[in-house]
């Protein structure tokens, strides 16, 4: 680095010297300076837009079949009704049944446009990321705060439960629970909690239990983190002070503890999101996730991998989509951790 540049940076670093900055502003500045992290965030936001506006980005509906055009290679289509199509043949301007179809990413065994399915698949991955993060955050926060704040016997008991869940292989059990739920929901229930759940599940495209399963698997770590934070903050002077002026437990928890606990938990969640996306893909891969024809990248890999020799694109494209989205989340999560972890500042 040249001296001029160094000087420039020094000036830049200190240009708002004298103004006070909150830790949040500090972290935001740090985050913005991290080009890769910002890039990851921009990409994630872009994928969110794609997910919300999927019909704009996807030329076809994800379930539209065209059996005569099945297993088309990327950029390929079979012009079956050429005489009709020749006249007006633009990309995607003709209905799928009428030939003259070019599949950007090829088509699957049922002749569904792979690109469209990948685009709609962002909805599944992102909603799982969001929902699983929310579920595990809320459960973990409540459980950890209650445990840490109560202390004594309650804390002990609650942590023994967490230890128990930590010691057993939750994934196989969660898989069995998902199977149980699916079997019961296929049978149908007339009333009660189960029928409410089944209807919710239908609304969520068969994903409700995936949300619950992934959240249930991951709240444990969050609860431990929250408890640790609460334990360290509840002895701090500002909490003492609040208690001294007569603040109630509710006030202390909501005004003083949770705001402090939330930050580290949010960062932990952003680091955990890639894991949630993987887990959904894995569950859908073994046939426990979305109900067909809802496209999930994991389910698409499952449909394609037996034919990898002749139609590799059916596996590789969803796989690449999965990895690229995860990469963006990883860049973003790493950047957030570095920005908020003041201990590391200036070193990485």
């Amino acid at each position: 680095m040249t001296p001029e540049k160094q000087l420039e940076q020094l000036v830049d670093n200190n240009k708002d010297l004298g103004k006070s900055r909150s830790p949040l502003q500090d972290a935001m500045r740090e985050f913005r300076r991290n080009k890769i992290a910002v890039g990851g965030m921009v990409f994630v936001v872009f994928v969110m837009i794609v997910a919300i506006a999927a019909p704009v980005f996807a030329p076809y509906h994800y379930a539209t079949q065209n059996l005569r055009n099945n297993r088309a290679k990327p950029m390929e289509g079979y012009d079956i009704l050429v005489s009709y199509a020749e006249k007006e043949c633009h990309w995607y301007n003709t209905p799928l049944e009428w030939g003259c179809t070019v599949f950007i990413a090829g088509s699957d065994a049922l002749g569904r446009d792979l690109w469209s399915r990948i685009v709609y698949g962002t909805r599944v991955s992102l909603s799982v990321a969001l929902a699983a993060a929310t579920v595990s955050l809320v459960i973990g926060l409540i459980y950890g705060t209650v445990s840490g704040y109560s202390g004594g016997r309650v804390d002990n008991l609650m942590m023994r439960i967490v230890d128990f869940l930590y010691a057993i292989p939750l994934l196989p059990i969660i898989i069995l629970m998902t199977v149980y739920f699916n079997a019961v929901s296929r049978q149908g229930a007339e009333s009660g909690l189960m029928s409410v759940l089944i209807n919710l599940d239908r609304l969520a495209g068969g994903l409700l239990f995936v949300f619950i399963a992934i959240g249930a698997l991951n709240w444990i770590g969050m609860a431990r983190l929250a408890r640790g934070q609460v334990l360290s903050y509840k002895e701090k002077e500002f909490v003492e002070a609040a208690r001294a002026i007569g603040a109630g437990n509710g006030h202390i928890i909501f005004k003083h503890l949770i705001p402090n606990v939330l930050g580290p938990l949010l960062i932990a969640e952003s680091m955990a999101i890639p894991g949630y996306i993987f887990l959904e893909a894995a569950l859908s891969f073994i046939g426990l996730g979305v109900t067909p024809p809802t496209p999930s990248w994991g389910a698409m890999i499952n449909e394609g991998y037996s034919g990898i020799r002749s139609n590799p694109h059916l596996v590789l494209f969803p796989g690449v989509a999965l990895s690229v989205l995860t990469l963006a989340f990883n860049f973003m999560g790493d950047g957030m951790r570095d920005a908020f972890d003041t201990r590391l500042r200036g070193r990485n």
């Binding site: 128990f164 010691a167 057993i168 898989i175 890999i301 020799r309 860049f331």
Partner: protein, 323 residues
Amino acid sequence: MTKYIIRRILMAIPVVFLMVLATFVLVHAMPGGPFDAIGQRSMPEHIRILLERRYGLDKPLYQQFFDYLMNLLRGDFGPLFRQPSQTVNDIIAQTFPVSIQLGLMSVAVGFVLGIPLGIFAALNHNTPIDYTTTFLAVIGVSIPALVMGPLLIYTFGVKLGWLPIAFWGADPPFILGFLPKPTADFWSHAVMPVFSIGTGMAAGIARLTRAGLLDVLSSDYIRTARAKGLRERVVIVVHALKNSLIPVVTILGPLLAGAVTGSFITEQIFALNGMGRRFVNSIGEREYFLQTSLVLVYGVLLIFGNLLVDIIYAWLDPRIRYD
């Protein structure tokens, strides 16, 4: 230490008991039973009743659970309903070695690749070497086994034709019950499944090692060691390395669990006759004994894995004392 280990194992017994109980109740609560149908036809009522009596399924659930526990103590995991010629013991004897070989080799690849890479990156902190390694590591953790498997199959199996794309290269009988005969066939079959789990692990371990080592290198006692005039190599190898590995060991537990998760997928992709695949394939069936027993085996594995982690932990960090 011995006392501690014994106490941990004793403490694990109620955990295993509760886990088995929960699984047992769960699989029995599933709608339908193992003898609802033969192929496409429904099973005649009287035959179903006889079959259920044959396997003791007509008894009350607590009685069945008690019988199962008693059989477990005798080393009998129970029968298979749909393949009466085999028992759950046979299935575990066939599939457990494959899964354990796959898991151990993947974890080994993770450590053997990951730790040196992490050290290498940390020692060249803020150089192009560091950036490249870190970048590769982020990419590595972003490719799940679910994607890595097909990717490897396509590249090395289909395009290049170097490696076999399916099956495990070793069959029972295994040496000592779980070790394969290290034939060329075994290695060539093992490379892709092992690396499809192992690369992600290696990337994760490399990231942790790098962060751990950087953390340690900026600590006061390293400055002291340097100030004493110790050679850089001694500072790194004797003083820094051991401490920097502590965070790496803490993830060994989740890593072993990850090897299990990975094996669910990888065994499916490579058509390996392992426990994960057998478990996944059994989820549509009502093989009560098989499902409960596989969860039991996973649970015991996990408990021993966590115990091992704690022992290594105490060895790495003398401040930790168990007694």
